[in-house]
């Protein structure tokens, strides 16, 4: 995690080129792919890619391990679904409602979690997420075990019917791409540099006069908000919000995507999301083996493959990706 970060500062000049190229390749891939691959699958990948990138903002760039990111993803998904279905809001407003919910939850959970460091931080975020999972299980509007089903996709800005699979795809594609560009911008801003400094040495950053608590909270809220955006989009794509999205399994999955793709790499989470979503789709018939394989991938990544797919590729090519 830290070695990837140190490289980032030394290869500033050529990293701009390699990252730009990688961004272009990713964009072109997702622009062409729906003609060859089932669009719903691709939209699922895009939503989870955004979710994983939002998570990576914390773990990869601030060194904070949240084990409860399903909280923001899942609750945003519930609220977006509820807004679209029960309040009959147009899709863009439903997404705003979902994303704002995640932001508020992020402020509260972040404020509590940053009061403890290291391993406690992970346990607190997990416990808070579990608490809100139990609330979702009991709350009336979430539909309990059934979830919120048949969520209407509606018309975007009153003009474009999202019930059309391709229109929906273009919408998701544009939103996710814009969000990824935003994350890239955050990472490379002066604010992002302070975050990396906190990751490398928090005590020293404090002694340089930075109020690290505020930076950590800001990063936490940004990450939660973007995870919420991913969850809201997902609710519209699948027209469903369910307990799966708030369960701790989902928090684990996003960690897996990021780890497999490469912690602290810009494109790692995208590749990781693709791999994990593809694996789940193709292994769906094998039932509980998915869990076993996910677990095994975790163990193998931690022991032998800590750079992840993209991190390893970047290391081999000597560029930052």
């Amino acid at each position: 995690m830290t070695s990837a970060g140190r490289k980032a500062t030394s290869h500033r000049r050529d990293s701009g080129l390699s990252l730009g190229l990688a961004f272009a390749i990713t964009a072109v891939f997702f622009a062409v792919a729906p003609f060859a691959i089932y669009p719903v699958f691709l939209m699922q990948v895009l939503c989870f890619a955004l979710f994983a990138c939002a998570f990576n903002l914390l773990i990869g760039y601030v060194g904070l391990v949240s084990f409860g990111h399903a909280l923001y993803f899942g609750w945003a998904s519930y609220l977006a679904a509820h807004a679209a279905k029960s309040w009959a809001l147009p899709p863009e407003l439903a997404i705003v409602v979902g994303t704002a919910t995640a932001a508020v939850l992020g402020i509260v959970a972040g404020f509590l979690a940053i009061r403890r460091q290291g391993i406690y931080f992970a346990m607190i975020t997990l416990a808070l997420a579990q608490m809100m999972y139990l609330v979702a299980l009991r709350a009336k509007f979430t539909g309990g075990e059934d979830g919120i089903q048949a969520v209407p996709r509606g018309r975007l800005l009153g003009l474009f019917p999202l019930s059309n699979e391709m229109t929906m795809y273009v919408f998701v594609f544009v939103v996710v791409l814009a969000a990824l560009a935003l994350i890239y911008r955050i990472i490379n801003s002066p604010f992002g540099e302070v975050l990396k400094a906190i990751r490398e040495n928090e005590q020293r950053t404090i002694s340089l006069g930075y109020k690290t608590e505020r930076y950590k909270l800001a990063a936490f809220v940004l990450s939660a908000t973007l995870a919420g955006l991913a969850g809201s989009l997902k609710a519209l794509v699948f027209q469903l919000a369910s307990l799966t999205d708030v369960h701790w399994n989902m928090s684990g999955e996003v960690v897996l995507m990021t780890l497999l793709g490469g912690l602290g790499t810009v494109f790692g989470p995208v590749a990781g999301a693709f791999a994990v979503v593809a694996m789940e789709n193709y292994l769906a018939a094998f039932g509980q083996w998915v869990l076993v394989i996910q677990g095994a991938v975790f163990v193998i990544c931690v022991l032998l493959f800590r750079r992840g797919m993209v991190g390893e590729l970047g290391h081999r090519l000597g560029v930052q990706l």
């Binding site: 346990m123 608490m131 509980q288 869990l291 677990g295």
Partner: protein, 295 residues
Amino acid sequence: MFEIFGIPSQALFGQLLLGLINGSFYALLSLGLAVIFGMLNIINFSHGAQYMMGAFAAYLLLQYLGLNYWFALVIAPLLLGVFGVVIERLLLVHLRKLDPLYGLLLTFGLALVIEGLFRNYYGSSGLPYQVPDALRGGQNLGFMFLPNYRAWVIGFSVLVCFSTWFAIERTRLGSYLRAATENPALVRAFGINVPRMITLTYGFGVGLAALAGVMAAPIYNVSPQMGSDLIIVVFAVVVIGGMGSIMGAILTGFLLGVVEGLTKVFFPEASNTVIFAIMVVVLLFRPAGLFGRAA
């Protein structure tokens, strides 16, 4: 039969008893987590899965070898202790110099593998495990009915918890352990085999989880997911208590079990979230935890 705050005494003491039972498991599991964390600097995410394996070990010993509860109480922790030693030697040993985050991720993966395997073979529904013959029935205490098995679980876990505390805080071996937690390099220089101590500590922690699993088998059904939800609550318990002190972990475990039991009487709908709510309050007013040293 009398009433307290408008609640029949039977219900009140019944829930208090259930609370103490849950508290016993919280105490045993958070104790194991604290011991492992002290030595390995790892949060053992697979603790819940290992607790579940303990319960399954009891079930399988009875099913296939005809060995009853009392044998299981000894054999299951030993078996799982060996399992822990193998895990430590094969996997965790490679993480010594890394960020503790990797230990969390690895043991999380391990928990998924274990739970997935057990779900494959035993499905998600629970398997019954009988209360041992010697502990059937119960005592009528006048104000409540006390099942013998539950009394045994509480008594025995108190005994195990305090023996562990005594072994760590009051014996020579325990003093080595505490010294190695503070400064492993120095203790090694005195000629003590610290890596072996780390391995055995992990095995011991896993054995404790398995022991809790055996004790839980007759109370809850034996099922593959019995550990995963419990371990998250135990994490909250650990955050509340702080892992700096063995006694702190034990007391917090029992205390929170009782609080949870009382909540079930007075606010039933909040009973499964109350421990998390307490965690929030503790984080607000005493961020280092009740017994914690500043992290």
